[in-house]
Amino acid sequence: MAEKKSIRVAYGEALVKLGAENEKVVVLDADLAQATMTKDFKAAYPGRFYDCGIAEANMVDMAAGMSTMGLIPFCSTFAVFAGRSYDQIRNGVCYPKFNVKFGFSHAGITLGEDGGSHMAVEDIALMRVLPGMTVFVPSDANECYQCVEAAAKIEGPVYIRTARLPSPVYDPRPFEVGKGTVIEDGSDLVIFTCGIMLEHTLEAISVLKAKGLKPALVSFHTLKPFDEALALHYAQKCGKVFTVEEHSVIGGLGDAVASTLCGRGSFTFRKIGIQDSFGQSGKPADLLVEYGLTGAQIAQTVLESI
């Protein structure tokens, strides 16, 4: 088993490193620094950390204002509050194309026990639809470091979706904004994934290979701009296309792939993810089973479809 680390922990570490390199970086949080892991930045640079209290909307617009003074604000809270502060993200930041970053954590159902009220299964959809927004969904700690570093270099709004639970840390891979990563080459079918579902799709790939198939696996750390060329290439090469995400099948990775492929050929296509429902309380492992997102279940769904 590879080393495990929560992507949110990596986010906190990446901010500290970035803080040392770039004095324009400031961090805002909405009374969740212990959870989003911005507490590390707060400890390292107390004069550059601003707690906004439990007021996410105000945090986002304050960051918008701070960005106009030449600062690079990173806002952090739970991903579910992307909805609560959406008008501020839209009108306060994206509409004027202000230089604000959002590192939102505890996304998806693996948030676990807190339950459906706190499980963001729609944040990627909300962020993808905003003009000018870059959307990152890192699949492990190393990719999160790369996303944070890249976010600071992008002039404009960036959303980084991070997860609560520890997940495997893979060897660092070459990183380019807007480019997908081929994890496994193959020709019989392709699975596209993002975020922590990489771990589970890798398990699915093992199962499929054991059945004598040659599956391809492509992971996307950037959902916007989306690497349409790579998605199209593998879809045309394999013909059978599956998307796996810890997000609603509406508006997320699945729909990014679907809109890429629409009108460009005939494919077997299936979106695996949260099937238009809210989450619920439970142990993360049990929730993955409940929503059909374990490696074995993903493999089973693929096998039933081909």
Partner: protein, 271 residues
């Protein structure tokens, strides 16, 4: 600029508001006419570093029109201050115009924040003031908010933060004309005593009995800041001020005058 010349500018801005909204056949004259003195005072006297030739000067004081629907008043003021020519009024609210229905920082010179979604401007202004302090700048940030706008919870979230961070480089101008879209404040959502509410949130309060009296507005804006506190200037204003048939009329919140009404308004606003 002497006081009489500034009063002439106020009159001209009011004419601009009428001309602009008439040409567009849309816009918000009522709440533009109520905050005209405040805008002219800011851009012609109070704010430092204002220069149409250098509208990105980082040391300039900042202004955010939080009640973004009063854009015609801002556009009139910016035009009279020399940021763009009067010909832009022909394109107010029109395709490809720089004068969008609500202020757009990407399109209009002199605009520091895109506003229109109410409550957001004051929050952005708080961030600007905090950012100015963070970088050690003595930039002062001004924002005009509406009374109806203060129905928005974000106004109060922002106010808590302004007091918490001791933003004495922030001046919030409260345009209290008493009316919003569907009626008076009290009919739509009672404001109670707004000055006491803002005081309780930690502001230093400056009362202005007649917010359409330029001398009173200037005196208030030149009141020294109270160290460690954001300042709220409570302007008691008249919606539709300067145009007889618009004054105190809820119906002129978001309606443009027709040609006949425009002619009458411009006659009333002659020097």
């Amino acid at each position: 600029m002497d006081i009489q010349a500034m009063k002439d500018v106020c009159r001209q801005v009011r004419r601009d508001i009428i001309v602009m909204t008439n040409k567009a056949g849309a816009g918000h004259p009522g709440g533009s006419l109520s905050c005209t003195e405040a805008l002219v005072a800011l851009y012609f006297d109070v704010m430092r570093g204002i220069d149409p030739e250098d509208d990105k000067n980082p040391n300039r004081d900042r202004f955010v029109l939080s009640k973004g629907h009063a854009a015609p008043a801002l556009y009139g003021t910016l035009c009279e201050r020399g940021y763009f020519g009067r010909e832009e009024f022909d394109h107010f609210r029109q395709l490809h115009g720089i004068l969008q229905g609500h202020p757009d920082v990407k399109k209009c010179p002199g605009v520091d924040a895109s506003t229109g979604s109410l409550g957001q401007g004051i929050s952005i202004a708080v961030g600007m003031a905090l950012g100015a302090k963070h970088i050690g700048s003595d930039v002062h940030v001004y924002t005009i908010i509406g009374d109806g706008e203060s129905d928005e919870g974000l106004v109060w979230e922002a106010s808590m933060a302004a007091a918490h961070y001791k933003l004495d480089n922030l001046t919030v101008i409260f345009d209290h004309n008493g009316m919003q879209i569907d009626g008076t404040n009290d009919q739509v959502m009672s404001l109670g005593d707004p000055a006491e509410k803002f005081r309780a949130f930690g502001y230093d309060i400056v009362e202005v009995q007649d917010g359409n009296d330029l001398e009173q507005v200037l005196a208030a804006l030149h009141t020294p800041a109270c160290p460690g506190k954001p300042r709220l200037i409570h302007l008691h204003t008249l919606k539709g001020k300067g145009v007889s048939y618009m004054e105190g009329q809820v119906g002129w919140h978001g309606k443009a005058p027709n040609d006949e009404q425009t002619a009458q308004a411009l006659k009333e606003l002659e020097g």
